[in-house]
Symmetry: C2
Subunit: 205 residues, 2 copies
DNA sequence: CGTGATCCTGACCATTTGGTCAATAAAGGA
DNA sequence: TCCTTTATTGACCAAATGGTCAGGATCACG
């Protein structure tokens, strides 16, 4: 990666780029990359189509920018796992943080879901690189706790997959979840104690 | 639903419709509905585009046919849950069947994932109707077993969500799972014992 | 205020894509 | 074999869509 120090953004640039990314997130997360049009994004951002393309080189550019920008936020909770903390409490904190992210940022969850479903054309290097390292670190910590008898032994990577699957399911498949539960239910609220109980039983000694 | 008894299909009709649906499944499951083109489907089916449209009225028609055709297969394992069986064994059988379906039919899993992500435009009535009834039945059975003290008590619908999420994750997010695990792993094989252990701990007494 | 840089847009273009149709080819039954 | 029905396709169309561009509006700064 060459260090191509960009000139600082003007106020207008900052504002409009933000508007575009915000609008694009809404559009991409509903329709996926191919289902989204620049016109929709422009509408959502309150700008004209040529103006959108004044700030981003292409639809692809917007998408890639969104993904890489949001990836850090998305992975942050896993990085915060503290090897010196209380094992069960650390895991539960991670699970709760991940569920809270699904609740507060369902669009982001769906954006990534679309990308992975598609075969992650924009994230291949990151998947095998940065993400893998982050997961490796977490898996090592978990394994250490299990080896020390402070956590019930399970395959750490699949444990992580399970946390991803269970928490993101409530964002990605929200329509289905709501349809099955019917009105008068808050899936995210109910999921809290359910997941709490689940991971206590799996990891408790 | 009006009973519009269709004339029986000729051999050619049967064969070509199957070819188209098979090709369409491959295309839709990779690119989603909007990302797929009739040309791609025609190619995958080995037919010309007008010929594809001779057998199906529109791209939408193909998609809808696929979804409704496959939905039964997809839900079949849940229907097979036997209220007179051994509780834990019934659940484990369901989990294993669902994981096996993710392994053998990842395209179908992704097809549904795309549909739900999109807000299930073609499945809204089914989600709130047929699916909900099937889940209600299963949930009632599970609840009965829990009330009888034959299964540890958990919210039955969220238990079902968890099974869907955990098993389908290996199909829908296969790229990510493989990237994290690295080469030399078979996610589905490893998931088997992991899920076995998980549900035993959650539901065992 | 003036002027250069930045910002914005209507009009336009080329390609893609869902879908049609008239005409031809292949089945199939009497 | 002949004739009706079914199957197939090349050519075509209209709409949608990603992207361009020349020129005008606005901003920032000396």
């Amino acid at each position: 990666m060459a260090d191509q120090s960009q000139p600082p953004l003007t106020r207008i640039q900052q504002k409009n780029r933000d508007l575009i990314l915000e609008g694009a997130l809404s559009v991409f997360s509903v329709n996926g990359f191919r289902g989204a049009t620049i016109d929709q994004i422009a509408d959502a951002a309150g700008l004209s189509k040529p103006n959108v393309l004044y700030y981003f080189a292409s639809k692809d550019d917007i998408h890639k920018t969104l993904l890489t920008t949001l990836l850090d936020m998305w992975l942050a909770p896993m990085i915060r796992i503290d090897p010196d903390g209380d094992p069960l409490e650390e895991v539960m904190t991670y699970v709760r943080a991940k569920l809270e992210m699904s609740r507060r940022f369902p669009r982001e969850s769906r954006l990534f879901a679309y990308e992975i479903l598609q075969g992650a054309p924009h994230l291949t290097e990151i998947l095998g690189g940065g993400l893998r390292q982050i997961v490796d670190r977490a898996a090592t910590i978990l394994q250490g706790w299990m080896d020390d008898g402070r956590l019930a032994p399970v395959e750490p990577r699949h444990l992580i997959f399970s946390i991803w699957a269970l928490t993101q399911h409530y964002a990605d498949f929200e329509v289905q979840v709501r349809a099955v539960l019917g009105p008068g239910h808050d899936p995210f609220v109910e999921a809290g104690p359910f997941l709490d109980n689940l991971y206590r039983k799996i990891l408790g000694l």
